[in-house]
Point group: C2
Chain length 168, copies 2
């Protein structure tokens, strides 16, 4: 995690902290923004993260993060349903309400990801004192598909969920 202290004219520096995300401990209202990219689906307790991030944000400051989409994490296999001749038929969803660990492959075997529902992401944030400002499910842009036609299947189902939440 990268922790950037609120800049002042006298004190503008960057401090690197090696820590589990759930264990962060900063002063109340210390930060103007917390950003986490594709990390929180490896964290078991999202409610703890929301509470700790809320604590260290200034009033009105924002928490913005991306995770693998719940539709993507529901099944551990994270694979398209293929026809007998190998064509991608559709994205399979199952076990959506069974939140918790999924033993997956990501660059190597036995990578533990944690599946939770979209509702759990949103309600953990609002319950911790955040307002949801924006929720995004990105898809490839037309110009990206023009230059990367092999990305076309990314427009068939959401792979990522991004949320911008502000401290109430």
């Amino acid at each position: 995690m990268l922790a950037r202290a609120r800049a002042t004219t006298d004190d503008a520096r960057i401090t690197y902290v090696q820590s589990a995300i759930e264990d962060i401990s900063f002063a109340a209202g210390q930060f103007d923004v917390v950003i986490r990219s594709l990390a929180l689906h490896y964290v078991g307790c999202f409610e703890t993260v929301c509470q700790r991030v809320h604590h260290c944000l200034a009033a009105g400051a924002v928490f913005v993060f991306s995770v693998e989409h719940p539709i993507f994490t529901a099944l551990a296999a994270q694979q398209w349903c293929l026809s007998p001749d190998g064509q991608r038929q559709h994205w399979p969803v199952d076990n959506y309400f069974q939140e918790g660990a999924r033993n997956t492959q990501w660059l190597t075997d036995n990578v533990i990801k944690y599946h939770r529902t979209t509702a759990t992401y949103v309600n953990a944030l609002t319950g911790a004192g955040f307002s949801i400002r924006r929720l995004l499910e990105p898809e490839p842009l037309p110009e990206q598909l023009a230059s990367h036609p092999d990305w076309k299947d990314e427009a068939r189902r959401p792979m990522f969920l991004l949320i911008l939440a502000a401290k109430r």
Copy 2:
């Protein structure tokens, strides 16, 4: 649509209005709550609904509604993927980012539903001036599954999306 005027000691009455949801026209701040159950996935322009509902709600008043879940409306067929022997294998998702009309069956043929993403529901609300208070993806309760074991597949994928939004 059921329109209930804000109750006063002198004037507490119920008025029924037959109208397309997109065409409602009420006084600013007239209502304390707007409730819509499983209607808005039949409406083409959700942004218009959000703007008109926001207009007629009092400050801090709430808009609560349920729709068929985007995972449920993405494919017009709205059917499980079956094994050759008829077992429900998983719920298929495709065309998620192709928002718009779906020609479906619901009690009869040629029922037009409108698919939109979860992001579109949330951002139309926040863009119109609402705060998201709660987002639910209901699943059967354990006691319901005990008395209705045939509902077990409803716990495998979300069928409904409920949102409680408050006027900022």
